[in-house]
């Protein structure tokens, strides 16, 4: 199996993992969440991670996002060594380079839509105006609402706006449509695809939904903590073309 280097929009690899393993100790038993994963992700790529529940997708994404450290192996983002970085370095890495979108949106309930975005832009070096980021996700008219006043899909779009407003180098999404209905999920995916195309942000999306895979440059399928297959899409569908 080949890495799809030829298919990547740019040939510069941003993420590199070699022999990446993660073991969780649960009392007496060791759970092997990742078993010696090798991978490479290139700048501007749109990657979809597929796989059954418990196959290690979140663990892999968390390590790439600097939220968790591997038990052994190499994990690098450009010249940042993610495997040996300490807590402070990982925090800086997340702060400067990574945007996250989660299944449960993770908005701060006591802050308005605009303030949730401000939260991130205030500490970014070259952020968008929160209003611009919210315009991108089509929520410019809901700036002063609190999360509880929005629907799930709207909340997730706020989360996307929050993630992209600082112009991150990578956007990591863990089941961003998992809690959404079909129509709304599509809307959110469109936004993510737009960001990838317009801003050139490298995107990794975890999903259970194989249909979404059509949007990706490459689709990695995980099983049992290892990469079972990588499929290169010759042509990326737009989210509106997807059927699921």
């Amino acid at each position: 199996m080949e890495f799809g280097a030829a298919m990547s929009p740019a040939h510069e690899s941003v993420f590199v993992a070699r022999g990446l393993s993660k073991t969780y100790r649960m009392g007496e038993v060791d759970v092997l969440a990742l078993r010696s994963v090798d991978l490479e992700i290139f700048a501007g790529e749109f990657i979809v991670l597929l796989g059954p529940s418990g196959s290690g997708k979140s663990t892999l994404l968390n390590i790439l996002g600097g939220l968790d450290s591997p038990t052994s192996g190499v994990a690098r983002w450009r010249d940042h060594d993610l495997a040996s970085a300490d807590e402070g370095e990982l925090t800086r890495y997340r702060r400067e380079h990574v945007g996250f979108v989660f299944q449960y949106y993770n908005l701060i309930p006591s802050l308005t839509v605009r303030e949730n975005v401000l939260l991130v832009t205030e500490m970014a070096a070259d952020p968008m105006a929160p209003e611009d980021a919210l315009t991108l996700v089509g929520l410019a008219h809901r700036l002063d609402h609190f999360p509880a006043q929005l629907s799930g899909g709207e909340q997730q779009r706020v989360a996307v706006a929050r993630a992209i407003a600082k112009r991150p180098d990578v956007l990591l999404c863990d089941e961003p449509t998992g809690a959404l209905d079909y129509q709304t999920g599509k809307l959110v995916l469109e936004v993510i695809a737009t960001v990838n195309q317009q801003l050139g942000t490298t995107v990794v999306v975890i999903t259970h939904n194989a249909a979404i895979a059509g949007m990706a440059d490459r689709v990695m399928r995980l099983a049992n903590g290892a990469i079972a297959s990588i499929k290169v899409n010759a042509r990326r569908c737009t989210p509106s073309e997807l059927q699921w």
């Binding site: 968790d68 702060r95 993770n106 303030e115 999360p147 509880a148």
Partner: protein, 788 residues
């Protein structure tokens, strides 16, 4: 078989052990202070009444100049009098070797023997006096301890101008001298004043008082009308120089002891119940909040089919375990502290039967109150959650209808960095809870202040009473009124640079049906050494034709400035006259009346005489001057102010120190209990948000600042509120504590305020550090999964 809920209980308690311990600690402190002080007070009170009964403490007292012993039979016939006992009492100067200061002994005749008399001695060491040995004496314990005297020691005394050596055969306590206070002195001073009981015949012979008495004790029948009895006794003794009969309420030692007991009673019945109530309220709030954080769990239990009852029982068990731990610790601690306090009062009160007792109702009530408060807090929280439909309750925390706080309309805090905004919304979201927290933290400040302010008040008392009002270094009292020319003799003594003479005379003041026995002190015009101060601290002087009273005396007599008082002189000429009260004096100790010395002497029909003199003395000349004073024939007693102040401080310091140390520890425990639990609960409620922020790239420090920033704001508001509360509490306490003999001024120093705030802030900081460690350990990955 342990039920699943009980297992959950055990794990929850283990998991929350920090919170369990701190809440239990608050409960323990409330219970401990309640048990300790109430048991101490009960022990003291019972000891007093037991001792009075055992020692057959007299009901009434009278002093005369010299009356024939045969009069005793006439006194016994007075209606209402049950028993009479006559005595001979004389104050003499002791010539103790190696003691640089003047020491006064009160010689009291004591029959003892087989006839069970009144005011019986309680022998602590040695034996009673042998009726055939005129030189044997029994010494009062406090004095013996202060002067290191004991059986076998000889005490040289100047008796009627002759130096005699008295032999100590025993050390004893007397219900009459639990506090040995010399007339005219504000406080007991055991180093300079003691009681010696000796053979009556020896005393009669030494003072040429054969067949006579100058003091009598009475017990009254229960139905006796005291004013009538006193009037009849006074009538019988009038020809013999009777000074007026009086009851226990005006007996010096009893008055001091009852004042002390009353203070103890007030302390025991005000501070600890407040403490217990504070602890109960805190436990109620904290437990309620803890239960509220388990909202989703409760909802889930309901969703899977549990009734409300077992859920409520589950959380009640939690309350019982926490209060149970706190009660056990609190009762053990309270008994240990009570024992210790009772022990330290033994030193102070010298009550022989001081046994430590804990009335059963005290710990029972304390535990019941704590338990009820905790249970109510837990149950109310469960009920609030149970009232919701499970589906609704399972959704993330409740009334989070986030909106802008009203203040945001006025003041656009939107302009602030969002992190600050989060902190502020954290506080403003639940204004009631924030206010309760601020109030609860603020409560720890008055508790510390209650422990510390005594020193400030005492400093202030000493500052005004001893250094602004009674400014003499040495006060000399003469055995009889002496020609005022004595001032020239005194001013020639070494080291003396100022002399002022005074005239004190025993009187009974009457206003309507109220009366009070005290002394009128005549002071010089423009007095420098014995000044009178009014409530505003201004120096005032009695006018030529009027009299001034201690404000508390005016209150006791029920009169105001401008009213007249009937003055009955109880010595010499025994004149009676109405005198107008022209002003009040703000004495903090004692109840006195003041006149101009010239006016007083004219009223008494005496020439220019003095009964005492105040001296200003150089420290260097003091020793030589005291030696010369002792040789002057008319000098009865000499008081050195500095030493009196030191003794006063030394006795009070030990008690105050123990008391304040305990209160400080309790207050710190309360502050920790409140702040720690508050922060833990806030953390539990916000950990999801905070972990999200960490994921977004916020550092541990920034995230901690958001949560703990709220604590800082709460503290910043709690401290001034606590200061304000302190002034209110101290003021209210002193209002009830105000006794006739003492008035403790409501003075709180800056140092005390700062110390109270510092202890609270420190307790908060410790709690914050513990919580901060938890924030650092937040599990970031878990927030990406579903919300718990």
């Amino acid at each position: 078989m342990v039920s699943a809920l009980d297992r959950k209980l055990r794990r929850d308690l283990a998991h929350m052990r920090g919170q369990v311990m701190t809440i239990a600690l608050v409960v323990a402190c409330g219970i401990a202070s309640f048990v300790a002080s109430l048991s101490t007070y009960e022990s003291l009170r019972l000891s007093q009444s037991d001792y009075y009964a055992e020692g057959r403490f007299a009901d009434a007292f009278v002093t005369v100049e010299r009356a024939p012993r045969a009069l005793a039979a006439r006194l016994a016939e007075v209606g209402g009098v049950a028993t009479v006992e006559t005595r001979l009492i004389r104050d003499v100067t002791l010539d103790l070797p190696g003691v640089g200061m003047p020491v006064i002994a009160r010689l009291v005749s004591y029959d003892g023997g087989d006839r069970p008399g009144l005011n019986r001695l309680h022998l602590r060491r040695g034996r009673l006096i042998d009726p055939d040995r005129p030189d044997e004496v029994v010494v009062s314990e406090a004095f013996a301890a202060a002067q290191r005297l004991g059986p076998g020691d000889g005490v040289p005394a100047i008796i009627n101008g002759r130096r005699d050596v008295l032999r100590i055969v025993g050390v004893a306590l007397s219900p009459e001298f639990i506090f040995a206070v010399r007339g005219g002195e504000p406080l007991p001073d055991d180093r300079r004043f003691g009681v010696l009981w000796m053979n009556r015949h020896g005393l009669e012979a030494a003072f040429n008082m054969e067949g006579a008495f100058n003091d009598a004790l009475f017990t009254l029948s229960p139905d006796a009308s005291r004013p009538a009895v006193y009037a009849e006794i006074d009538r019988l003794l009038e020809p013999y120089g009777g000074r007026g009969a009086y009851g226990r309420d005006q007996q010096m030692s009893h008055r001091f002891l009852s004042d002390e007991l009353r203070e103890q009673e007030i302390m025991a019945t005000t501070i600890p119940p407040v403490f217990l109530a504070v602890a109960a309220v805190l436990v109620n709030i904290v437990l309620g909040r803890i239960v509220a954080t388990q909202r989703e769990q409760i909802a889930t239990l309901k969703a899977i089919g549990y009734d409300n009852a077992p859920i409520v029982v589950h959380y009640l068990k939690m309350a019982i375990v926490i209060v149970g731990i706190g009660s056990a610790v609190g009762i053990v601690l309270g008994i240990a502290l009570g024992r210790m306090m009772t022990g330290s009062y033994t030193q102070f009160f010298r009550l022989p039967l001081l046994a430590y007792r804990v009335p059963l109702w005290v710990p029972l009530l304390a535990v019941a109150v704590s338990l009820a408060a905790a249970a109510a807090g837990a149950a109310a929280a469960v009920r609030r959650v149970a009232a919701l439909a499970p589906a609704e309750a399972m959704r993330p925390p409740a009334p989070r209808v986030h909106r802008r706080a009203p203040i945001e309309r006025v003041w656009p805090i939107r302009m602030l960095p969002v992190r600050l905004l989060m902190t502020l919304r954290l506080l403003l979201d639940r204004p009631l809870r924030t206010a309760t927290t601020i109030g609860a933290v603020a409560l720890s400040i008055p508790i510390i202040v209650l422990g510390l302010f005594w020193n400030d008040a005492l400093d202030y008392m000493i500052e005004t009473q001893f250094f602004a009002a009674e400014r003499a270094d040495v006060v000399v009292a003469f055995s009889d009124p002496t020609n005022d020319r004595v001032r020239y003799e005194l001013s020639r003594l070494p080291g003396v640079y100022d002399v002022e003479t005074m005239r004190a005379v025993s009187v009974r003041l009457r206003a309507g049906h109220r009366s009070y026995r005290t002394a009128i002190l005549g002071t010089e015009d423009g007095a420098r050494l014995r000044r009178l101060l009014d409530a505003a601290g201004r120096v005032v002087a009695p006018p030529p034709d009027g009299m001034m009273l201690t404000d508390r005396l005016a209150e006791r007599l029920g009169i105001a400035v401008g009213d007249v008082v009937l003055v009955e002189v109880l010595e010499g000429s025994r004149r009676t006259r109405e005198i107008a009260v022209t002003g009040l004096v703000d004495d903090m100790i004692g109840l006195s009346a003041y006149m101009n010395i010239g006016a007083l002497n004219r009223f008494l029909g005496e020439g220019a005489v003095a009964s005492a003199a105040a001296l200003a003395v150089d420290r260097d000349g003091e020793a030589a001057m005291l030696a010369r004073l002792r040789e002057m024939p008319r000098v009865a007693t000499v008081t050195v102010r500095r030493e009196a102040v030191e003794t006063f401080l030394a006795t009070i310091a030990t008690i105050v120190l123990v008391f304040s140390a305990i209160l400080c520890a309790f207050a710190a425990a309360i502050a920790i209990g409140v702040v720690y639990n508050n922060a833990r609960i806030a953390l539990a409620e916000r950990s999801w948000d905070l972990a999200t922020l960490r994921v977004l790239g916020f550092t541990r420090r920034e995230v901690s600042a958001i949560l703990l920033g709220g604590l800082v704001v709460e503290l910043a508001l709690a401290v001034p509120l606590g200061w304000w509360l302190s002034f209110q509490v101290v003021d209210a306490l002193l209002r009830v504590l105000h006794t006739e003999m003492f008035e403790i001024p409501p003075v709180i120093s800056m140092r005390t305020c700062v110390a109270a705030a510092a202890i609270t802030v420190l307790a908060a900081a410790v709690s914050a550090l513990i919580v901060r460690r938890r924030i650092d350990r937040l599990d970031l990955v878990s927030v990406l999964k579903a919300r718990e």
